[in-house]
């Protein structure tokens, strides 16, 4: 019995060890950030293989937490989700920035991300893709009414709006109600008070909502079919829909779009750090970054990639973001631990409210 058990265990361990040989990069990322053509180019040039797993912020952190930071060699959570989880669970390892070609990055963005992801003097993240969330709407039908997040609760668009029940919605509504949740990050009592106001607003607004969307495709279907005329969503979603219907586009809300930056981090038990650095240096080249932008629809932190970006996408970006809207983007600061449980309870109560 013991012998059989031992043999089985040994075989299992061997199998696992083999899967993690040094030449494989196990990349945990978002859909569209590692397009097949880019992966193929990288594999051809370096001889390494890349295994891509698509996910989102919460699942990335949950996966890494479950294994203590193992199972992947490179991950891409948003920059505000690095400090808290690192302090809490220790799932990342410091990045050696000297191994990266720093000239490839937009200097201001690199500096800001490094500052936001520094824990105990060690840097944990470098920027990759950035974008905003705001309002995606059919300007012909809802353009007059909806100027800000709170306008989604207007009776003119009743039954025709949708948003997610996640933290960006709470933050967006707080800004639209004239609060500054980011300034209250350090003060739990103040933050809970702001969230209390947002909760009341969201419960009041619930009758207006058709459904809370979960995935990007679900929202696209709702807007494309005309069942929803205004929604809170990512900029790329609006620009993609714009190709099919010129009336639909992304609009930066009056209180400011919310800006996020997805990063590169090394999971604590990653086994192919060198390949990971190679991958980062590879995808940050302007030509490669432009390909990722073309696929994912979002711009990257690669310096000079703008030149290679499609004109159509640039035009959409400029239409959605006049100069003052760019200055008004609210970038997510790192989330202190503890706040998310306040938000979680608010979201649960909103969903259960009648």
């Amino acid at each position: 019995m013991t012998k059989i058990f031992m043999t089985t265990t040994c075989l299992a361990v061997l199998g696992l060890a083999q899967a993690a040989s040094a030449d494989t990069l196990r990349l945990l990322t978002w859909g569209g950030y590692a397009p097949d053509e880019v992966v193929e180019m990288f594999e051809e040039q370096t001889g390494h293989t890349v295994e891509v797993t698509k996910s989102n912020n919460e699942e990335m952190i949950a996966k890494l937490r479950a294994t203590g930071g193992g199972g992947f060699d490179l991950a891409q959570p948003s920059q505000d989700r690095i400090m808290g989880p690192q302090m809490e669970f220790g799932i990342y390892k410091p990045i050696d920035v000297s191994k990266l070609n720093q000239d490839l990055f937009i200097p201001s963005m690199l500096k800001a991300t490094m500052e936001n992801t520094t824990v105990n003097g060690e840097v944990y993240g470098v920027p990759h893709v950035w974008g905003t969330s705001g309002l995606v709407m059919n300007t012909a039908e809802a353009g007059e009414v909806v100027k800000d997040y709170t306008d989604l609760c207007a009776s003119d668009v009743a039954g025709k709006v949708s948003y997610r029940l996640k933290r960006p919605t709470l933050i967006g509504f707080a800004f639209a109600m004239g609060e500054d949740p980011f300034a209250a990050y350090g003060d739990e009592a103040k933050y809970a008070e702001i969230m209390g106001k947002v909760e009341a607003k969201l419960i009041e607004c619930k009758a207006n909502v058709k459904t809370y969307w979960g995935g990007g495709d679900e929202l696209m279907n709702l807007v494309r079919s005309g069942e929803v005329t205004a929604a809170m969503a990512w900029d790329t979603g609006g620009w993609k829909l714009n190709e099919d219907n010129a009336d639909i586009t992304f609009v930066a809300p009056a209180s400011g779009a919310l800006g996020w930056i997805d990063t590169f981090v090394l999971p604590a038990k990653g086994q192919a750090d060198d390949v990971a650095y190679e991958w980062i240096n590879f995808v940050m080249q302007p030509e490669i970054s432009a390909r990722i932008t073309a696929g994912a629809g979002n711009f990257t932190a690669s310096a000079g990639a703008d030149e290679f970006a499609e004109d159509a996408l640039k035009a959409k970006y400029q239409a959605s973001f006049p100069a003052e809207a760019v200055d008004n983007i609210k970038w997510y600061p790192p989330v202190p631990a503890g706040l998310e449980s306040i938000e979680g309870e608010v979201l649960d109560r909103v969903q259960a409210a009648n």
Partner: protein
């Protein structure tokens, strides 16, 4: 010889022990330990029953808990009401080839994944969907009708998803009922209803109970259907467990919810067996 028999026994037992031990017992012990601790600060945890207290005192969690239980029982009841005539027709009325074909029809939807089946319902029920368009075309409605994102849509999805698991045990038990027993019931002056109540249902009871247990468990543990069809008011308990584990990173509360669900399902199954006066042994054997 004897030692050979023992090796055989051990070899046959090993997969079961590994399966139960590695995939069920050990994870559950770990979950129990996680559910019994409380976060104090970064990486510091203390043993406490705070999670269970929170789960049992917060009205929201309790409401969702009961809602899920009641809706699952309701879904089980509706499934039984629909599946019984279907199973009776397949087992008793249909003969030969027709019987096999009808049985296959029940089976075919399960060739595709649950996700695809749920999407099918979304295409049918949505505001710009087939049913809505059909109603407008026939003049029964003068504007698009939204049938998705409510409890009724969710119930339809739950019943549809678990239909097969009710039909199969019912067909099996009903097939074993001798036709002459039913005839004898009529010969002795029984009407349709009394034959059903006195002969058919008592005979089909093992099938009804095992079907109900399976359907109830499937509904209670369903994640996809309530999330996709249920809309903004439909908080399902499994969704709350997912939220606590994945979205909120609050494993402690999620684990406590998981155990509450385990206890709830055990209690309801036990109650169902007590109510029908059956033992688990009879039902499974």
């Amino acid at each position: 010889m004897r030692s050979h028999a023992r090796i055989g026994f051990v070899l046959l037992l090993t997969p079961l022990v590994l399966w139960l031990g590695l995939l069920i017992v050990i994870p559950h012990i770990d979950m129990l330990l996680i559910s019994l601790r409380e976060r104090i600060s970064f990486g510091v945890y203390e043993t406490s029953t705070a999670q269970y207290q929170k789960a049992l005192t917060e009205p929201l969690y309790l409401r969702t808990f009961w809602r899920t239980a009641v809706m699952s029982v309701l879904a089980t009841g509706i499934t039984l009401l629909i599946a019984f005539p279907v199973a009776y027709y397949i087992a008793k009325m249909a003969k030969g080839r027709l019987q096999q074909v009808l049985f296959m029809f029940c089976l075919i939807p399960f060739y595709v994944s649950e996700l695809v089946r749920t999407f099918g319902w979304m295409i049918l029920l949505r505001e710009t969907g087939i049913v809505s368009n059909l109603l407008q075309w026939t003049g029964l409605a003068d504007q698009p009708v939204e049938m998705l994102y409510n409890d009724a849509a969710m119930m339809v999805g739950l019943v549809y998803t678990s239909m097969l698991f009710m039909v199969v045990p019912l067909v099996t038990t009903l097939e074993s009922l001798d036709d002459s027993v039913i005839e004898a019931g009529y010969d002795l002056g029984g009407g349709g209803f009394s034959v059903l109540r006195e002969i058919i249902i008592p005979h089909a009871m093992p099938g009804i109970v095992s079907g109900c247990i399976v359907v109830f468990m499937l509904s209670l543990g369903n994640y996809l259907t309530p999330t996709m069809l249920g809309g903004k008011d439909s908080l399902w308990f499994t969704e709350m467990i997912y939220n606590q584990f994945i979205v909120r990173s609050n494993w402690e509360l999620g684990a406590a919810f998981g155990f509450m669900l385990l206890v709830l399902s055990s209690v309801i199954v036990w109650g169902m067996l007590r109510l029908t006066g059956r033992t688990l042994q009879e039902t499974m054997g």
